[in-house]
């Protein structure tokens, strides 16, 4: 029986049974066979391979406020679902689908993939310092998951790749939270002191997604600069592994945030000044919140106890400088190299940069 007869017969049977059959009338792109690319060498059936024919057309503007999959036929009865982001420029990066699959391929398990049995007692000061750092990184993991997660309900299906990738960011952030909590509670220590959290307000208060992205670049850059010193900071193989695995995750997040901001700056250059405004805010809160707990704990570790901490603070200052340099480095990659000349005054001191000339203030 030719295919058209098969379908006609199917329709008849459905209709006789009182079932709708209009789904059989939809013209099918019969050539779409993503499975053909799914070889072991190509990483299996990765999401990138789905982007063929109409299904791969990511629209500049998506105008459907329902859960309709990109490429499906709309049902106009559907209630609107409250999405608010319908612009490709606001969320897109071509890397999303690939980073999503990478995140899954790179997945790890804090219970089993960390050699916890390598932990060994260290001096009380050191254990306190490690636990203090663990507490603050946990806190950031929690914040990152919460604040990333809330964007899911805002982004429409047109940009499904972005949403899938953000799902992995949420999950990675959960792990960031718990692996450090585990470290704090597994070696005779406990949790330290929580941070004041003001610096996180630019994440929680974002009104646009790209604003959230630049604030994330700042915070992720601060963290990754620290994680990259894992080889110096870790006392054991377990810790070294934690630093490495977390670094790998954060690096992946930054790839997206940076590539998205680059895309936005190219597509909507008129938003440059607005984006600087958001960086002003993020930096102001970071500088103002700056309590010295984190850096003091680093000093205790690098100084091998409280006695050596004072001397080690010069090293810590170099590390803090690297944080700012790293942040500015990522911004250069997004075509936001002009940030260097506008960096917050306090952060300039952290980085040892010359002061900005005082601008004329018009006090209105």
């Amino acid at each position: 029986m030719p295919d058209s007869d098969v379908i006609a017969a199917a329709k008849t049977r459905l209709e006789e049974s009182g079932l709708p059959s209009d789904w059989l009338d939809i013209p099918v792109h019969w050539g779409v066979k993503a499975k053909e690319q799914a070889t072991p060498e190509s990483g299996g059936l990765r999401f990138e391979y789905l982007n063929v024919d109409v299904y791969g057309e990511v629209p500049e503007h998506w105008d459907n406020n329902t859960e309709i999959p990109r490429g499906a036929v709309p049902d106009t009865r559907t209630e609107q679902m409250g999405y608010s982001i319908f612009s490709k420029a606001e969320v897109w990066s071509d890397l999303c689908a690939g980073l999503y699959e990478d995140a899954i391929a790179d997945r790890w398990n804090s219970s089993a993939d960390i050699p916890w049995d390598t932990l060994a007692p260290v001096g009380s000061d050191l254990e306190h310092a490690v636990c203090q750092i663990a507490t603050l990184i946990s806190e950031y993991g929690w914040t990152k998951a919460q604040t990333t997660g809330r964007w899911l309900q805002e982004i429409s299906y047109g940009y499904i790749e972005v949403k899938l990738f953000l799902g992995t960011v949420v999950f990675d952030s959960a792990r960031l939270y718990e692996v450090w909590r585990k470290r704090a509670l597994s070696n005779g220590g406990g949790l330290g002191r929580g941070g004041r959290n003001w610096k996180f307000l630019p994440l929680t208060q974002s009104y646009t997604f790209s604003e959230f992205c630049v604030a994330s670049i700042m915070h992720d850059a601060m963290l990754i600069s620290l994680l990259r010193h894992g080889h110096r900071l870790a006392q054991t193989e377990a810790e070294r592994r934690i630093y490495e695995l977390c670094e790998q995750d954060i690096e992946r997040h930054l790839k997206y945030f940076v590539d998205h901001m680059r895309y936005l700056m190219l597509k909507e250059p008129v938003r440059r000044e607005e984006i600087h405004r958001y960086m002003n805010k993020a930096e102001w809160y970071l500088a103002k919140d700056g309590d010295d707990t984190l850096y003091s704990a680093l000093g205790v570790i690098l100084g091998d106890g409280r006695e050596g901490a004072e001397e080690a603070m010069a090293d810590v200052a170099q590390l803090r400088r690297e944080q700012i340099e790293t942040y500015l480095g990522y911004l250069r990659q997004c075509h936001l190299g002009d940030r260097e000349g506008r960096l917050n005054e306090e952060l300039r001191k952290w980085a040892g940069m010359v002061e900005l000339e005082e601008e004329e203030k018009i006090p209105v």
Binding site: D113, W142, V354
Partner: protein, 354 residues
């Protein structure tokens, strides 16, 4: 990786942070040594001493981990508000379910034997991609909803937070795998589902009401169906998809059931509110105005492998199982009597007679 370039204009020594050692003398619980067990170092193993005690209420909207000392100075309101009562969001199984979620992650790219999918007859392929179109929609919302609730979970009840974060990941993978199936074998995406209760889940402004719709009724029905995935699947790839997805759904359903149980154990008055929600949601699911034309037809067609009468017979078999398992879950959660009191929607109780 960004290389750390020396900034050209950098010509001063960086400011040295002040050394403050006050955090060396905090009043937090100290001397905790969780030991890894058979599955490594799980959340349950670190939930010891003070760190394992779940506060019945939390007024802390900050990100401070449970058990950490409060900072000096003021903290801002981090999120508009948190659900401070444990009865609002907690589940005794959340930590365990998160641990399971982490250890049972799978990859839709590499863990599905896509090469087992041969060409299917066109009617069957169409029915399958129509089913997958509907499923990818459902899973899409199922990820948005926990995302919406994350900022409202108190850090003091972090177990529920972590569980929801794992659900976001699971649902991303489900959205993904059904889209992959739709586009893998020649069919493509077909007809949108038209609602069918998805809006009701995302618009709910009470966590327990949301969870009773999403986790217990919605994902419960889906899980019952997926566990009968053999009836629908035509090759090993499809079987594996349903099996792995069902495993994920089981965790979500378990969270919903144990959360509702926790809530009702501690706040029995909440029962009537949940009944009301289920009245509404059951009605939505069977409302002719909400019907999903694609899903209904495709599912029956697939179940009968093209024989619509046989499909109907099996449909009622599936539906009966869905309803029985739904009622069982409510029983376990402590919300019994919907069938006996005649409160269960007639279209669902009717399924039990088939």
């Amino acid at each position: 990786m960004v290389t750390v370039d020396k900034l050209e204009e950098l010509n001063l020594e960086p400011e040295v942070p002040e050394l403050d050692l006050s955090w060396l003398n905090l009043d937090t619980e100290w001397g905790v040594s969780a030991e890894p067990g058979r599955k490594g170092l799980t959340l349950q193993q670190i939930n010891k001493s003070l760190y394992g005690e779940i506060p019945a209420t939390s007024a802390d909207s900050s990100a401070r981990p449970r058990g950490a000392a409060p900072p000096e100075g003021a903290t801002p309101r981090m999120t508009p508000w948190v659900l401070g009562d444990a009865t609002e969001t907690f589940s005794d199984s959340a930590a365990l379910l998160y641990d399971e979620a982490v250890s049972r992650q799978w990859s839709s790219a590499t863990d599905i034997p896509w090469d087992t999918m041969d060409e299917l007859p066109e009617d069957i392929e169409r029915a399958m991609v129509q089913l997958c179109t509907s499923l990818t929609e459902v899973e899409f919302i199922a990820g948005d909803v926990p995302g919406k609730w994350l900022p409202r979970i108190a850090a003091d009840h972090y177990e529920s937070g972590l569980f929801l974060m794992s659900q976001v990941m699971d649902e991303a993978r489900h959205t993904d795998v059904f889209r992959k199936r739709a586009l893998a074998n020649g069919g493509g995406l077909l007809l949108q589902g038209g609602g069918g209760g998805l809006r009701q889940i995302i618009e709910a402004e009470d966590f327990t009401q949301m969870s009773s719709m999403l986790h217990i009724l919605g994902e419960g029905f889906v899980q019952s169906l997926f566990r009968l995935g053999e009836l629908i699947a035509h090759n090993e790839a499809e079987k594996r998809i349903f099996r792995l997805a069902a495993q994920d759904e089981s965790r979500h359903v378990a969270y919903g059931v144990t959360h509702l149980k926790y809530t009702l154990d501690n706040d029995p008055d909440k029962a009537e509110e949940v009944h009301w929600t289920l009245d509404m949601f059951e009605n939505t699911l069977v409302d002719p105005d909400q019907q999903n034309p694609g899903l209904a037809g495709a599912l029956v067609y697939l179940l009968g492998d093209g024989d619509v009468d046989e499909g109907w017979r099996l449909f009622w078999h599936v539906r009966r199982k869905q309803v029985l398992e739904y009622l069982h879950r409510l029983d376990v959660a402590g919300l019994s009597g919907r069938l006996e009191s005649g409160r269960l929607h007639p279209s669902l109780s009717g399924a039990l007679d088939n």
